[in-house]
Symmetry: C2
Subunit: 302 residues, 2 copies
DNA sequence: CGGCTTTTTCTCATAGTTAGAAAAAGCACC
DNA sequence: GGTGCTTTTTCTAACTATGAGAAAAAGCCG
């Protein structure tokens, strides 16, 4: 408003997600010359070339991955890394969904999302890593606090992020967990990484961005019809359910899931059916009018 | 990633909210030399002066309004106005809550939020402006679409944003409504404003930012204990309810509200009571531990 | 003490959720 | 062409939450 204008380099980072073979995947650039580890598709925002942020992002993704994005949604703007010696001081992260494995450029691949966050996939029950590695490490960290106030704070933060051994684990708090692990030194990106490192590392702060994205996806799933962008135009109810389960990271009760989706008026039968090993599943299609009728329509599972 | 670095001016905009006398208020700079209308506190982000975005924002707010902010939350990054002749091409908006009328600098004042959005306050039933002005104008706009496809799209968008004459109005879709009105020319900030203008105007795109904020607040109220930052440390249940009602823009059922808050374990009695014209109200205080016990604790009214 | 106001407690009908059982519809194999 | 296997789909019963109203409780004012 006042004073000299100060100009800053602005980066755009893309989290491009798909689900195939019941596995959520994310588009990453493989390590290479200037990349110490997997990185998200990204580029610099140039207002002379692109009128809007998402136009710029689309151009970078097209360039780096030969991929056209559909719906795009802003995730977060990260600005606290001006001091790390790199010129870039601001980065705006976006989230996009695409259908399945689409064309791919050379140094880009689809990588299973949970490789970066093995503790987030509870579809086959609680992952061993939680009991074996995470709980002990975090408990040790809590116990290591010297003064009682600090210990209480750590206790509280822990309870929120990962619950207790028997108490609930909130699947939406992906970012809180990652940041906790970062602070304790449980991930390779930490300022002071410890001896035990969880999940695969990424370049820069990209794993943090990815954690933000997963949390956002899990929250949005409930009250917005996001999943349908990941599916082919025709799909069966079990396919829909498995896609939701893949992202939510846990199993759902099939009869209840069906009722939820049907009562929301989100889908309509195409008339056809898909053969399976058992009873054939009816094919469905998404009904976009649902969103106008009930603006909060989503798959409100819990 | 590749090519020459391109630098951009980044602005920080602050939506600072408070509730006093049952009226949500927002901190604005009054019109003046370079300001055609009310504007949000704002300034340029300078990474050399401030390590993080929110540090920069805090500094600007302190400077312009002599006010210290508590909890700060990122709202959105607006980037699509590079072509309007002004140098600033990116702005990161933040949302903050403060308790009540705190100190004020000269050209800054607390202004009732609903003056900018008179159609959003349904506490005394549906505002006359909705029936008298908004419905007719929007219906005319839908009818004015020439080809059927466009009319159908407008119909759908309208249904989502403002419902129908008898059907539900979703109080969270503040931004969708503002953007609809902007497009139709119902607000002074529109590219082509019509003869009838709704609400008070603001400078730049600040009313859009404010709409984003109100929508976010209304959504977050349900599942996060935000309100407590607006209240004095001790408060009564009716005070809490009225504050929530002020933000939500509608009335709630007192007995049910009480049950909700108490069952969530969000508050505890202080032991004291506040005199009123009727039965004295018990004083309460917020119980921060609630958030650790139930990470999604909020006032889950609907 | 009786009337007034406001807070607080109670109650009840309705709606939504969880969890399990079981029926239905195909295939494969004898 | 039946029998068993798998998977989808329908049904049902218990439980929990929500919406709306009645009424009790606790103060003040005259």
């Amino acid at each position: 408003m006042t004073g000299m204008p100060i100009d800053i380099a602005v980066a755009l980072d893309a989290v491009v997600a798909a689900v195939s073979d019941d596995e959520p995947r994310v588009l990453v650039r493989s390590p290479g010359e200037h990349l110490p580890a997997d990185a998200l598709p990204a580029g610099t925002f140039d207002p002379d070339a692109d009128a809007t942020l998402d136009a710029g992002l689309r151009r970078w993704v097209t360039e780096q991955a030969q991929l056209d994005l559909g719906h795009l949604e802003q995730l977060y703007t990260f600005g606290d890394r001006g001091r790390d010696g790199r010129r870039r001081v601001l980065s705006v992260a976006y989230l996009a969904f695409v259908r399945e494995s689409t064309p791919r450029a050379p140094r880009v691949r689809w990588h299973p999302w949970y490789r970066y966050f093995p503790w987030e996939d509870w579809r086959d029950g609680r992952p061993a890593i939680v009991e074996d590695a995470i709980f002990p490490a975090v408990e040790a960290w809590v116990a290591a606090a010297t003064d009682p106030q600090a210990r209480h704070d750590r206790q509280r933060r822990t309870r929120r992020a990962i619950g207790t051994r028997r108490a609930p684990w909130n699947e939406e708090l992906v970012l809180e967990r990652y940041e906790l692990f970062w602070e304790i030194g449980l991930v390779a990106e930490s300022r002071a990484p410890g001896p035990m490192l969880l999940g695969e590392r990424m370049a820069f702060d990209h794993r943090r961005i990815l954690a933000t994205a997963l949390g956002r996806v899990r929250g949005a799933l409930r009250y917005r019809p996001l999943v349908f962008e990941l599916l082919a135009p025709d799909f069966t109810l079990p396919e829909l359910q498995q896609t939701v389960e893949a992202l939510a990271g846990r199993r759902l009760h099939a009869p209840n899931f069906r009722r939820l989706v049907e009562d929301a008026g989100l889908v309509e039968p195409t008339g056809a059916a898909r053969q399976t090993a058992g009873r054939p599943a009816k094919l469905l299609r998404y009904r976009p009018d649902a969103i106008a009728e009930r603006p909060d329509a989503g798959i409100g599972f819990r």
